[in-house]
Every structure is written in C-alpha cells, then in structure tokens.
C-alpha cells in the first residue's frame, strides 16, 4: 500500500520504537564517542575534540595483538560452525529414524546462555575436568599437568569450543528452516529429471539456502567479534581480545584512562561494521553475478 494519506499513521507507528532506540541505543554510543574524543569532565578530562586517545590505542602493539586474537577467535568458529551446521542441515533435510530426537537435542544449546556453554566446557576440558580424569584412569596421562591446556591459553580452544557448542546448532536451525521452506520440492524435480544426488544438491538445494547461510554466519561472526564474558573467563590473561582489553581499561583505578577505553569501544564497533559490510557486499555481488537481486 502506498503511503498516500497514511502519513500520520506511519509517523505514529514508528515514533515509539524510534524514540526508545534513539535514547537507549544511539544515546549510549554518542556518550562513548564523546568520551573517546576527550569530553569527560567528570574524570577531569576536557580536551574535546582530540584524536589523541585513538592515536594512542591504534599505535600500541597491545592493540594490534588483541585485534589479531579477536579476529582469530571470531573467524575460526564462524567457519567451522557454518560448515558443520550446513552439513548437518543437509544430512537431516529428509527425516530419518531418530532425527526428531537429534533435532530436539540440538535445540537446547541454542536457547541457553553462553555462560552455560562455558560451564560445560570447563567441566569437560579443565585440567582437572572429566576428560582429563578419564585419560588418567586409562593411564594416558600421569597428572593434571600432562593434560593439554585447553582453557586459559592463547590458543583459545576453550573459548572457541563454547562458540561451537552454541553456533553449530544455531546455524543448523537457521539453514534447516530455509531448506524446509518454499521450493523444497525442486530437489525432487531435479532428481526426477535425471540429476545425480550430488548435482541436485550443488545446483538446486544449496543455492536456495545461501541467504540463510549468510544470515547465520553474519550473526555468528558479529557475536564472536564483540563478546566479553567468554574470552574473559576462558581466555589467557594476555594476549586476549579487544573487548577484554577495553573492559580492563574501563575498570582501571585511574579514571582518566576511561577515554582510552572508549576509543577501544569505538574502534571495535568500526572494525566489526567494516567486516560485516564487506561480507554483505561480497555476497550481494555474488547474487548479482547469478542474476538475482
């Protein structure tokens, strides 16, 4: 329906959400931005506008190391959960015996907090955790020290395991819903016209669910890039991710370091935005190349 005589209805409809998000979403970002530019009179910082804090953050080697680790902890689980989640969705696209139970099991990790995933990973993979105990009982290791350090190490295996625990099921669910949506019968058509199972999968089934795959992987990356509590709890003291570094500066006893923390936040936001925009751009170009859009 065209807007025509409904301008009042449109404005009234959008006004409440717009007002609330301006105050609670844009507002906080502007406060952080102002502080990062040197406007923080309550901490005795009043040098607005200055880029000194950005220069300080971007010039430090600690920032560059944290950025590399943030990207590493974000990208690796995104790739693994996308591949595994899509494979699972494809394997389960036609019901088989027991698939209902498996789907029910996969729904649980999606609806519990990431902190539940952290507890699960600690219980299993800590040096005194269950897997180490089973290995000890089997005689494979002689003490807790022989178990490889999965948690609190720069390798970040503990952090990434938590992400995978939540995100493989999440990707599976988003992609499964797309597979079950309109057009599920095209595979059958392709097969009955003589396409081999692999050709039907590659040329008919997969292209139809690419938007769902992009949606899931985009959300997964956006989450992994900015999460604080999981790398804080299960990552190394140093090096760790940008959000952990930002929070450390925010909580520093010296309050005049807070503008530096705000510069960290703005940089995290900007990098995340650039990566996501670039990803969407690549995807759109691919869609155009295929003649849709």
């Amino acid at each position: 329906m065209k807007a025509g005589g409904h301008r009042v209805a449109i404005v009234l409809g959008l006004a409440p959400v717009t007002a609330v998000l301006s105050l609670l979403f844009i507002g906080p970002l502007l406060v952080a931005l102002a502080q990062s530019l040197g406007h923080a009179p309550i901490y005795g910082v009043e040098e607005f506008p200055t880029l000194r804090y950005y220069a300080h953050v971007l010039g430090s080697s600690r920032f560059r190391i944290a950025l590399l680790y943030t990207l590493y902890y974000a990208v690796v689980p995104t790739i693994v959960s996308t591949v595994a989640g899509v494979a699972l969705a494809l394997a389960l696209r036609h019901p088989i015996r027991g698939s209902r139970v498996l789907v029910a099991v996969l729904r649980l990790p999606v609806v519990v907090p990431y902190l539940v995933g952290a507890s699960v990973v600690v219980a299993l993979f800590a040096n005194g955790g269950l897997i180490a105990r089973v290995l000890f009982a089997l005689g494979a290791i002689g003490s807790t020290g022989d178990f490889p350090r999965v948690l609190f190490s720069a390798g970040g295996w503990g952090v990434m395991l938590v992400y995978l625990f939540k995100q493989i099921p999440f990707t599976f669910i988003v992609v499964s819903a797309a597979l079950a949506g309109d057009g599920a019968q095209y595979e059958e058509v392709a097969r009955s016209l003589g396409a081999t199972p692999v050709r039907a999968l590659w040329h008919v089934v997969l292209p139809r669910v690419v938007p769902a795959i992009v949606t899931a992987s985009l959300l997964v990356f956006a989450f992994n890039f900015q999460t604080y509590e999981i790398p804080y709890l299960l990552g190394a003291t140093f090096p760790n991710t940008l959000p952990v570094e930002a929070m450390r500066r925010f909580n520093a006893a010296d309050l005049s370091r807070r503008p530096e923390a705000m510069a960290y936040l703005m940089v995290i936001t900007a990098i995340s935005g650039v990566v996501l925009a670039a990803y969407l751009q690549v995807y759109r170009r691919w869609e155009r190349g295929r003649g849709r859009s």
Partner: protein, 306 residues
Amino acid sequence: MGAGEGTIVIGARSRGRGLYSTSRGVRVALWIVFALFSFPFVPLVVASFAFRWHWPAVVPTEWLWTARDASTVPVGWAYLFSRVSRLGPAFANTTLIGVAVASLAVALALPAARVIARYDFRGKSFFEFVFLMPVIVPQISIGIGTLLLFLRLGLVRTHVGVILAHLVPTLPYALRIMTAVFQNLDHGYEEVAQTLGAGRMQRFVRVVLPLVLPGVATAGLFAFLISSNVFLLTFLVSGGRIPTLPTMLFSHIESGAPLDATTAGLVVIVSLPGIAFLLLTDRLTGQRLSLASLGAPVQPAVGGRR
C-alpha cells in the same frame, strides 16, 4: 527483497520419500553429533548431586544424600535452595525483568511492525536497517555507553535501568517477528468487518488482534528468552546490586572449580527459561514455530529468496 516470509515456519515438515536414502556413513556421523551435543550436560547434572568429586575420580566418591548429616555447611542443591545463595532473588529478578521487557518490547514493536508490513514509504529501508543495528553493534559498546548514560540519569542499580537496557537487544527480534506476522495477515477480514460497519477501534480489537495474537505471544517469548540470557548489559547496569541467573552463574564460574556441585546445579537452573521456551513454543496454538526466528533481524539486510 522478500523479508519476513519464512521467518516463522508453520507446519513445515518435509515428507519422507523412498527417493532419498541416507548412507551408513552419514548415519554414523549423525550419531556422533548426537553424542557430542547430548553428553556435555550429563557430567553437570551428575556433579550437581555430588558431595565429593575430587581429582582423579571419574565418578563422585560421595553423594549429596549420603553426606547430608556429615556436612556442616550446605552444598550443591542444599546450598542453592538455602537463603545464603540468593538464588531466590536472582530467579525472581530474571523472571520479573524478562516479563517486563517482553511486554514493553511487544507494545513498542506492534505499531511499528504493522506500519512496516502495510505501507511503502520513503525511508522505510533506512528504518528497517536502523532497527536491526542493535543486533550487529558490539554489545560492549552499547553496554558501557548505557552505564555512563544511566549514571547521569540515576538509572544505574535499578530494575528500571536493567529493563530499559534489555530493550535494545530484544526490540529487533520483536520487530522482525511481528512484521512477518502482519505481512502474512489477510486484510480481507478487516475489509469485511468494515463493510459490515465496524469502526476503526472495533476492527482492531475484534478482528486484527485475535488474528495476530499467536504472533504477539511468539514475539513476547523470544523477547523473554533473550532478556533471560543477557549477561553483559545486566552486569554493567546492575552494578552487582541486582543479581540475575546469568550474572550469578558468571560469578560462580569465575570462582568455582571444575565439576563444582553448586555451579553445576546453577547451570541446570539457568537453563530453565530456555527449556520452558522450547516447551511453550512447541505447544503454542498448535503451530510449529521455528527457532530460526533468532536469525530474523538481519534478514532485511541479507534479503534474497527464502
């Protein structure tokens, strides 16, 4: 772009056909996946009933019920259900905040979703883009910014502050789900009611509302789920004064040992809102509702056919 359709899958279940056979290898792989995702909860449930489970025991050496008289301080479930643990307030806070956030999110999203679904207007895609931003913008930036803003407004360490903070991550979901509901709505009924002489208010209350009610309930449940899972925003805005289930679990993981009975019991409690969500959405008005709506907010940006 066809945003909206397919975000809520109703009665979608592919039919089994002899045409497809799943190979033995795939079946074995699926059983391994089943084991990987169902096993992790077992040690935690066992641990929650353990009194003594030190290295290197693979199973607890003493259970809660055999040690009840021996222990001077309550452990595990006994501790969690005692006054000292503060689990009661945390559970009450999570529920109260979740219900308030869900009601507010639905009330705010309903008029906006109706407008987005019904009308084409200039700036529509801009609004849709802005409404999805809170899902994409780093939570830590919003969280610390909110803390600084709320310090000035006197909202830090208040329930109202936490509820307002939770609106930001929940509104995009409420909006997308409700927009899909209004897009699937058949306007014929409303027109029939109009020709039969129903006024604007009467049409909304007697015709539109009953039709969208299942969708409204769905949006509310998603908002409740997200609110009950949020950690960082609560942690920052509550200043440690308003314990919720996630913030309580955070402090226990921070200080507890692996397979600690209290943390294990708490994990079970913290999972309850999610389990309740799964049970409720399965029952809801006979519709099979897809968890895939958790991907819905970014779909206007991704677009494409679904």
